[in-house]
Symmetry: C2
Subunit: 216 residues, 2 copies
């Protein structure tokens, strides 16, 4: 089973290939600002496939870090995979971007993922190894502060103090964490047995600015 995974929910391009159980991860991409990321993803993936000794048509499935996360990041990853899959028609695993982040912390106990979603809100999820303890959701930082303090991890800086919470460092590169999450999800969900979508669908969990304006 050969799977290619892509995640840009945190801004940078993370990618991994699993080839018959062996893991290959992308080199950190340089100069991938928002402006250029839309067109640097495919070269990064091609370099990674080359490293794994694979051609596009030898893949059996794709995996997407589907969100929640940066709106633009999610859209660009989804659009790129949609384009790639126009020819391949492979099943697509949808991974939680927060689950990938939790894997970066690489701890045995439960860990909250608390990513700033701006507009006073946070993307939150709670994981312990294979288990999802709290469903991914979008809540206000004020509501986060009412949760019992625990271990957490995140990219960037939380906009509130989070007293008595303990921030865990990342011990795994995001591409490696993406590979782990892909292995785990694909092991539990055999693409031959379940009907996976061939079109990627980002998970936003938050109103876009345009939707906020329409509701205002």
């Amino acid at each position: 089973m050969n799977i290619l995974s892509l995640d840009t929910a945190c801004g940078d391009i993370s990618a991994a290939v699993i080839k018959d159980g062996r893991v290959y991860v992308s080199e950190p991409a340089e100069n991938t600002s928002g402006k250029t990321r839309s067109t640097t993803i495919v070269p990064v993936l091609e370099q990674l496939l080359k490293k794994a000794g694979l051609e596009w048509h030898q893949l059996h499935a794709l995996a997407l870090g589907a969100g929640p996360g940066s709106f633009t990041g999610l859209r660009i990853a989804a659009a790129t995979l949609a384009g790639i899959n126009s020819g391949l028609k492979l099943p697509i695993y949808h991974l939680s971007s927060l689950a990938i982040t939790a894997r970066q912390a690489d701890v045995d106990g439960p860990v909250w993922v608390l990513e700033d979603a701006r507009a006073g809100e946070a993307f939150t999820g709670c994981y312990q190894r294979q288990q999802q303890l709290h469903a991914d959701s979008c809540m206000t930082w004020a509501d986060v502060e009412t949760l019992p303090p625990a271990h957490f991890c995140c990219h960037g800086e939380p906009p509130v103090a989070l007293e008595h919470w303990t921030r865990l460092p990342f011990s795994l590169d995001r591409s490696a964490a993406l590979a782990m999450e892909t292995e785990l999800v694909s092991a539990g969900l055999n693409a031959d047995e379940v009907d996976l979508p061939i079109y990627p669908t980002p998970v936003y969990l938050q109103l876009s600015q345009a939707e906020r304006n329409a509701h205002a």
Copy 2:
């Protein structure tokens, strides 16, 4: 020569296929908000190819409405075409989004395209049929107001009065205008003779918000 063209610079999905000189245009896509557009493009293109009786591998070139225009629109179109072209490796024509807009006005005389770029700025270009009279650029609306009044066209509403200017209505659907611009550009630039890029590159002409923040 079979060419597939895509433009989302104005928000909506516009697409056209030219098959041996015959033109096929996409149906107006429904429910293509910013949130869903990233994954509705490929189904729209597949429907269009089906209408033209073509498979992906029967295309000889792609064309992209490359900008300037909506940052997200440009990125998503570029990311989708980059993904599609990961397998096809076709030459990509880069079309001016403003030239496509000028074609929508469908007039003989010169016409300015003045699209609001927000932040007090406008994307401007001036066209007369096949001719580009002024290069596409990004200028302040205050500078636009110092230009000699002329005919203009645009999507949306200009944020300034533009006294003595005459706004021309659109008489062509954007997909039809996209097809015309593709035919014109590909007729002048034979993909077999010139080295066209296989990776799409959006033309922004404006600093992104992140770049503005970095400069501030």
